[in-house]
Symmetry: C4
């Protein structure tokens, strides 16, 4: 496995963009199934293929109040971090059952994908889409 | 929270594109579950990160008749609006159980994401994708 | 409604790209629920915002045999057509329970979105994504 | 059918990009329904429209360990291959119930779409999105 790891590290480099937008956001307050895997959650999957840690900031927008943030997240070099919006707590937790949107900025290029698990009803539903890259694309 | 709000407002600016297309559209007439959260709906999530209000117009296309619109929507500065196609009523409500598509134009750059909740059967299904940016990309 | 129709027709024009790819394709043979709305189906939603009819051709790729096609589809000016792959029959129907992919070409720019309704199990599942634009983007 | 095959082969050529990223990845360990169609799986659908075989390599990233790979996959000329991450075994199987992300490189342009079937609960859920093209776009 050392061989494989070395080889993959050599061919990689920073990929993606430095600013991303996710216009859809909603954390349902109800869940069905075992926690935490089946807790309703809204996730931003961040991938940093580069050799430097990514310092990322989330800003969250609402329909009826000023945006809040930044929520800081670090994605180490050559790692992926799947951020649950449910877990963002500083400066304030994101309100449940409320429409929101988010902008994600990084000091180095990253790739962002958006996923939601909705388990309000008995069976879970999933959605996913690549976030919208704004700038800094490689 | 004042600190956070100020900081996020400073770093933002207009993002996205001024024309977007969503080729998929369909509002089922049947629903299962508590209203309005579980009513079947087709949603366009609009994010305006800029300092000026966005004046947005929807045009809706069909398979067997001329397009209708524009349906006007305002997205205030630094706000997100999640527009349910079910709620568009002027000039005319969008017919149910009918294939449609839409073009979304804005006088300032916005980001658009498309989501559907389908609750015709007992458990809900979700789909989502970033809309297709046509022009005015930043 | 005449007013609205006229106005939307004036502001529109051809939008999108002339070649699109959908790498995912699979038509399950089983369905649950009332037909045809709940029949498992794989759909390519085509939007033609321009003033000229779009002459579209689908080519379908497989894992173990040569591609087949072209399947011709016409999308009239200022119309959307939601094509079910299940309904493509000439030159040959697309086999069920078989992985496939497709390339969609048009003589004028169109926008393409891919959706699947999977009703093999009791509750339906949906997926959707904008197809990948290859060339001719406006 | 010979006629159709010939014609589609003539109009095609290499399409897509040579590097793609999928920031979302997760293989649930539990499944409901008949195997293998209903086994929970994470899939990368690869389409090679060109006349030369595509030599593809997957590199898989994690949150808490070095990336592993490359996992080699060949997509023959004018073919699609729907790769289940569950089936990647060399150098090592991808761990279940673990967040991951992937980068997909090819020596010729291909198109990549990401799909997951989640059958942990009684009814299956689907998600899909076009992967993020990094470079080599045509």
């Amino acid at each position: 496995m050392t061989r494989s790891t070395d080889r993959s590290m050599n061919v990689a480099g920073p990929m993606g963009a430095t600013t991303w937008a996710i216009a859809e956001g909603y954390i349902p307050s109800g869940s069905t199934g075992p926690e935490p895997a089946m807790t309703s959650h809204e996730t931003a999957c961040l991938l940093n293929t580069g050799d430097a840690d990514a310092h990322v900031e989330f800003t969250v927008y609402f329909s009826d109040r000023d945006p809040i943030g930044p929520y800081p997240v670090i994605v180490p070099a050559r790692r992926t971090v799947h951020v649950r919006f449910n877990d963002l707590e500083d400066p304030v937790p994101i309100p449940l059952d409320t429409d929101f949107a988010s902008v994600i900025r990084s000091d180095v290029p990253i790739v962002v994908q958006h996923t939601r698990l909705d388990s309000r009803q008995a069976e879970n539903a999933l959605l996913s889409t690549v976030a919208y890259p704004i700038s800094g694309g490689s």
